[in-house]
Symmetry: C2
Subunit: 212 residues, 2 copies
Amino acid sequence: MDDAPRRQDRTTTFYRQLREDVLAGAFPVGSVLLETTLAERYGGSRTPIREALNLLEHDGLLERAARGYRVRSGTPEDVVEIYEARLALESEAAGAAARRSTDLDLTRLAHLHERCRHGESDTERRADNFRFHEALWRAGHNATITGILTRLTAQLRIYDSGPPAAYGDLDVLDAEHDDILTALRDHDPDAASTAMRAHLRRSLDQRIRATL
Amino acid sequence: MDDAPRRQDRTTTFYRQLREDVLAGAFPVGSVLLETTLAERYGGSRTPIREALNLLEHDGLLERAARGYRVRSGTPEDVVEIYEARLALESEAAGAAARRSTDLDLTRLAHLHERCRHGESDTERRADNFRFHEALWRAGHNATITGILTRLTAQLRIYDSGPPAAYGDLDVLDAEHDDILTALRDHDPDAASTAMRAHLRRSLDQRIRATL
DNA sequence: CCGTACCCGCGTGTATACACGAGGGTACGC
DNA sequence: GCGTACCCTCGTGTATACACGCGGGTACGG
């Protein structure tokens, strides 16, 4: 019954490493990623590197350039698309969380909410905001939805890896998280779902406004 | 500007082929897929085969067995999870379609609806039902959502590749499609979304009941 | 001087060779 | 007869070798 032997081969190693680096914005936006170069950089052969690149392309994080690959920074239209999907899934997750969240889930969310509220720097608050959302997905107890949202938000992260665009009104963000949390505590799926929709819609608005 | 050079390499060829075969249930449920065997079967080297298998695993269609890979037929719980995600996304797509569908979209949907209504065999109606849904995704004009739904339904297809479980009440299915189509024609997002939710929820119910 | 054609270098895609690890079968000892 | 240990086979993961295609640069002809 010991299925799914967790692979530690170089392919997955490189995959994780590359993914991390791409999301961290380690590669200049327009630059091309050659498998030969990367093989040298990460100290391996081309084969596992290419497999990792294939996976990343499949994830939508990379796209094929004329010569190699390049980081895929979606168009603003893509961002809107992704947000539309995220809206649907994350509001569903919020509803599910209102129904299924455990005390542990709620405590974790409350903790992260506090951290987000009192974060020091802007990037720190951004990270905490993201952790709050991740915790909420977990509280929804649906691995499929969680997985999709992970991929979607990854694409968003590379999109705005350049300018650390400031969150608009941070108080509003806190208030929205508060609404969501309250709905979860009340086990009110509709309220949670609606609050999440509003939260993300405003987030998208902000993003669009920043992109003008 | 001629990006994304469409690859016709053996990796993607094998990927498509394998995916097709897996979805068609070409491999007995418990059987293992060895890359050596597959390489021989499809007439190629192991390298592109393994890359294709990697991709399929990444899609969640395959999982690693002790020795090779095997078709991943999810548990009933997984099916419920997938349906939950599908519910969120497809009702969102229905809403979007109500807002954005073109005349062409609506005509296509009407055509498929008719075909589905008058289908001969059961498997034929099932296929037409699926095409109707695909057309609806297209009508939503959100490639991200369409892509995710494609993957999700693929997982569902392999799940029930074994017994061609009969659709329950086919008249109900037609009526539901009719409701959706009407809402789209009226450009009423809420109605479309709600109708789609009901449709899928009943579909899930049916599936669960069949699995008992 | 400009256009075209050829050549070369580079990067990729595929095949093959090699090393490692796991699993099973067999043979030997108790 | 049963248990254990060793070996062998098989499949995978990785590296390397090879062939193809493309793009640029250069040289030659108009």
